[in-house]
């Protein structure tokens, strides 16, 4: 299937810290097709950022280690590549936008220069041409090009994030990874930034891996969505399919816990319990301590990936027939 | 009310244990601590440790190089250098501790007043601190000792005065951070109660930086008194102050190098231990600890 842009198989990433080994990502499988927007959803600590950093091999080492797995980008195995080769890919074929715009830009360099850098490096432009390109990108993201000579602190959070987007898209990457790009922003700015991303994605024909904890954002922007819990994917489906017909108990719990505008409810229904301690994960299905459908077997067997129908997969013993629904 | 007090107590005790645990992990800091303890013990038991008295002259045995009877040699009046260094630990530690204590108390009061009352008082005090900081502290100490006259006590006060701005700043910062919290709670503040609450909170809040600053400050004070004695201010022989021993040895450097070398090594070891311990404390007391 030449349509697959990114294919992650059996990824396992651990952080070796003083307090123990943190199993950030375990048995992770994920696929992203060309031109698609895939939402990666999970609560804080689920391992989303680690997954993203693994793709461009920027997991901080120490203390992080990619233990095993395969990440295929257009058929090429990224984890086997040397650092030199990865550098040619970063910012060029695969770009990343980070979560906190207040700290992601270098305070002592102008925003224009920070965009020019990427362009000069990957597209071998000279300074003049790079400046032109940088100005174009700024205009594209809605920032007056004259402001290229300004410093990050002179911009608001939303504008800084746009600069981040400009930087990431400046070399026309095939894959854009956005790690919670709007989480740190006001709701109104969120909408603007998301719209911008949507527009640019279509224009540049970039595939997008959008990491978020906000299902609302997913509904707006994404084609497909993967739900992540405690380091692994528990459900993967097309957006409509997930919202209309969620399969995994965790997904159902997430959808139920969103307050409804129509219904008059006295109490919210959160998922009981807390995210597990990553140094001491539950055996068997990682969700079982919090699962309303859990049976004894769930504490022993690790669920396999079950394909329910076209483009709808779930990891749950219920769908393996081992547990009553 | 009682429950929160008890909880605070256990939390504090737990915090100190945690600090100790972190400090223990720092091998270098532990070395410094051990050395420091040895120095303190030497100072306390100098009479038992030193082979000779510190003012025992023996004019038939002047400027002897290190030998079996005088492990570090003798100076130009036949006094045993090792013994003088051992007794010198008392002077150095005394000056260091008294000077720093003085700085902490006076600086702390000034800083607390500046932070607590704010306004004009704050301005005045901080301006004075700025002025003091504009004069390199050794020069200020020199000027003060020139005015006060020499002698152990004056030197301690002079050094204490010249280093108090740092503590004033630390305490003021602590007070301000508390003031901002407490005022929110204590909307109905009764004057005296306010002061007591703040006094009970300033100390824990500023304790960490004061401990670090203080440890490093003792090192700096010891260097200062050595320097002052070296140029003839401060402490004079026969008191076995390491700096004055160095000054003595300066003129003998060509013929009797040992007279100047060993006291300097003593200073270096002491300062090293204090610095390393101070660094270790700074890391162990890192704000990451306080949740």
């Amino acid at each position: 299937m030449s349509d697959i842009l990114l294919d992650i198989k059996n990824l396992r990433v651990e952080y070796h810290t003083e307090d123990g080994i943190v199993k950030a990502v375990e048995d992770l499988y994920l696929t992203l097709n060309k031109g698609e927007t895939l939402g990666l959803v999970g609560e804080t600590g689920a391992g989303k950022t680690t997954t993203a950093l693994s793709i461009i091999k920027l997991v901080p080492d120490p203390p992080g280690k990619i233990i095993n797995g395969e990440i295929l980008f257009k058929g090429e195995a990224l984890l086997k590549k040397k650092t030199e080769t990865m550098r040619k890919i970063r910012g060029n074929k695969i770009s990343m936008i980070f979560q906190d715009p207040m700290t992601s830009l270098n305070p002592v360099l102008t925003v224009g220069f920070q965009i020019e850098e990427a362009v000069m490096l990957h597209q071998k432009l000279d300074r003049q041409e790079a400046k032109k390109r940088s100005a174009e990108m700024l205009k594209l993201v809605g920032i007056p090009p004259e402001r290229g000579g300004d410093y990050p602190h002179q911009f608001s959070g939303g504008m800084r994030q746009r600069v981040g987007i400009a930087m990431a898209l400046s070399c026309n990457p095939e894959l854009l990874i956005a790690d919670e790009p709007t989480t740190a922003l006001d709701v109104t700015i969120q909408a603007q930034v998301l719209n911008l991303m949507r527009k640019l994605k279509t224009e540049f024909k970039t595939s997008l891996l959008l990491i978020t904890h906000d299902l609302g954002v997913v509904a707006e922007v994404c084609d497909k969505v993967a739900i992540m819990y405690a380091g692994t994917i528990v459900e993967y489906a097309e957006v409509a399919s997930l919202f209309n017909d969620p399969k995994h108990p965790y997904t159902k719990g997430l959808l139920n816990s969103i307050p409804s505008l129509d219904e008059d409810v006295e109490r919210l229904t959160p998922i009981k319990g807390l995210m597990p301690d990553p140094t001491d994960l539950p055996k068997g299905c990682k969700f079982h301590p919090r699962c309303p459908k859990a049976q004894e077997i769930c504490s022993r067997e690790v669920p396999a990936i079950t394909s329910l129908k076209e483009n709808h997969q779930v990891s749950c013993l219920i769908y393996q027939g081992l547990v009553p629904a | 009310m009682e429950n929160t007090e008890i909880k605070k107590e256990t939390k504090k005790r737990g915090q100190w244990k945690e600090v100790w645990r972190r400090l223990k992990k720092n091998k270098l800091a532990m070395v410094g601590l051990v050395v420091l303890v040895l120095i303190i013990l030497t100072a306390l038991f100098a009479d038992f440790v030193a082979p000779y008295g510190y003012r025992e002259q023996n004019l038939s045995k002047i400027t002897l190089k290190p030998n079996a009877e005088h492990l570090l040699g003798t100076d130009d009046l036949g006094r045993d250098i090792l013994s003088r260094i051992i007794y010198g630990t008392r002077i150095s530690l005394l000056v260091g501790i008294v000077a720093v204590t003085f700085s902490i108390i006076v600086g702390g009061i000034l800083g607390a007043a500046a932070g607590f009352y704010g306004g004009v008082l704050d301005n005045i005090i901080m301006r004075i601190m700025d002025i003091m900081l504009a004069i390199p502290s050794i020069l200020l100490a020199i000027a003060l000792v020139t005015a006060f006259g020499g002698g152990l006590f004056n030197v301690m006060i002079a050094i204490g005065i010249s280093s108090l701005p740092a503590y004033a700043r630390v305490v003021k910062a602590a007070v301000i951070s508390i003031k901002e919290q407490e005022f929110i709670e204590a909307a109905k503040a009764i004057g005296a109660r306010d002061f007591r609450i703040i006094a009970a909170h300033i100390i824990p809040n500023s304790l960490a930086p004061i401990i670090v600053q203080g440890t490093l400050g003792v090192a700096s004070a010891i260097l200062s008194v050595a320097g002052l004695s070296f140029i003839g201010l401060g402490i004079q022989p026969p008191t076995p102050e390491w700096g004055s021993m160095l000054s003595n040895g300066r003129y003998l450097i060509r013929t009797a190098w040992h007279v100047a070398t060993f006291p300097g090594i003593a200073i270096m070891i002491t300062i090293f231990a204090l610095n390393v311990l101070g660094d270790g404390l700074r890391d162990a007391l890192d704000p990451r600890l306080k949740q």
Partner: protein
């Protein structure tokens, strides 16, 4: 930008006035009668009394202070009690030498300290790092006057490579400069290292790497500038320490600077000289800090922008 510079210069004036007041007050209350010292112990009492009147030593404190300031502004800092020459001349004839020493020491501290600090940070926990850090700790712990003596012992007496005292050539400058500079160098090395380690942990460094920049570019272009900002302030403050160190070190190396003059003046109770010397060095220190502050504002765009 100019507003900032102007404001800072303006703020300097009250500080200098304050320093003058403090120094004058301290000297004022120092025991010893300047007139007596000037004329010598055997001088008859009436002569001393007459000189006191002449020197205005009987006027009230604030009048004397006011006169002091008035005269100082004209460059008149009184006369040395021992040599009878104007204090100003005595100081100024030696000031260049002290500055030369201080400048050389700063150079040593910065040119050696910063690169070693950077290297230590990029090779954290390596052998180089450990050794550098131990050296730095030792360097900070050595009293500089002792270090000077040890250097003389080694290089002048044992090896006979360098002169132990005097002034004039580069060979005379090396040891004193190294003596004063080493502690500063040690401090700057440690500060640079910790600042670099701090900066390298920041998000924007991760962003730079994610753009595909080589590690060398990330360090040199992105990390360095940010890391050096706090170090520059420390350099300024270190200058004060250097000036203080000069006082002790000049004595050891017989370096003809302000420091040595002051030490002799202390011994001979020549108060005007001590007063003038402290004042001069304090003002120098303040000016240096001012320059550093301006430099700092220039380099850090966040500060620069505040005063545009």
């Amino acid at each position: 930008m100019y507003k900032y510079i102007f404001r800072r210069i303006l703020l300097l004036i009250p500080v200098i006035l304050g320093v003058s007041f403090v120094v004058f007050t301290i000297m004022f209350f120092t025991p010893g009668d300047p007139a007596q010292i000037m004329l010598g112990e055997r001088a008859p009492a009436e002569e001393v009394a007459q000189l006191r009147e002449q020197m205005g030593l009987n006027k009230p404190f604030f009048v004397q202070f006011f006169n002091f300031i008035k005269n100082a502004l004209r460059g008149d800092l009184g006369r040395s009690l021992t040599t009878k020459r104007p204090v100003y001349d005595e100081l100024m004839s030696r000031f260049p030498q002290t500055m030369q020493l201080a400048a050389a020491a700063v150079l040593v501290a910065v040119v050696l300290g910063i690169p070693i600090g950077i290297l230590s940070a990029t090779k954290q926990y390596s052998v180089f790092d450990m050794v550098a850090m131990v050296f730095a700790l030792v360097g900070v712990s050595m009293p500089n006057f002792w270090q000077g003596l040890m250097m003389i012992l080694l290089f002048s007496i044992v090896l006979r490579w360098l002169p132990s005292s005097g002034y004039g050539t580069f060979r005379h400058l090396i040891m004193p400069a190294l003596t004063i500079g080493t502690s500063s160098m040690a401090l700057i090395t440690r500060m640079t290292r910790s600042s670099m380690l701090e900066v390298v942990r920041q998000d924007y460094i991760r962003t730079a790497r994610a753009k595909g920049l080589s590690e060398r570019v990330v360090i040199n272009r992105h990390a360095l500038k940010n890391a050096l900002i706090p170090v520059i302030t420390v350099i300024g403050l270190q200058f004060g320490y250097l000036l203080g160190g000069a006082v002790l070190t000049e004595t050891i190396f017989s370096w003809p600077g302000v420091g040595r003059l002051m030490v002799e003046a202390i011994r001979s109770k020549d108060f005007p000289v001590v007063q003038g010397g402290v004042l001069l060095l304090a003002i120098t220190f303040s000016v240096v800090n001012l320059v550093v502050d301006i430099l700092y504002a220039y380099i850090d765009p966040r500060i620069k922008a505040q005063y545009k």
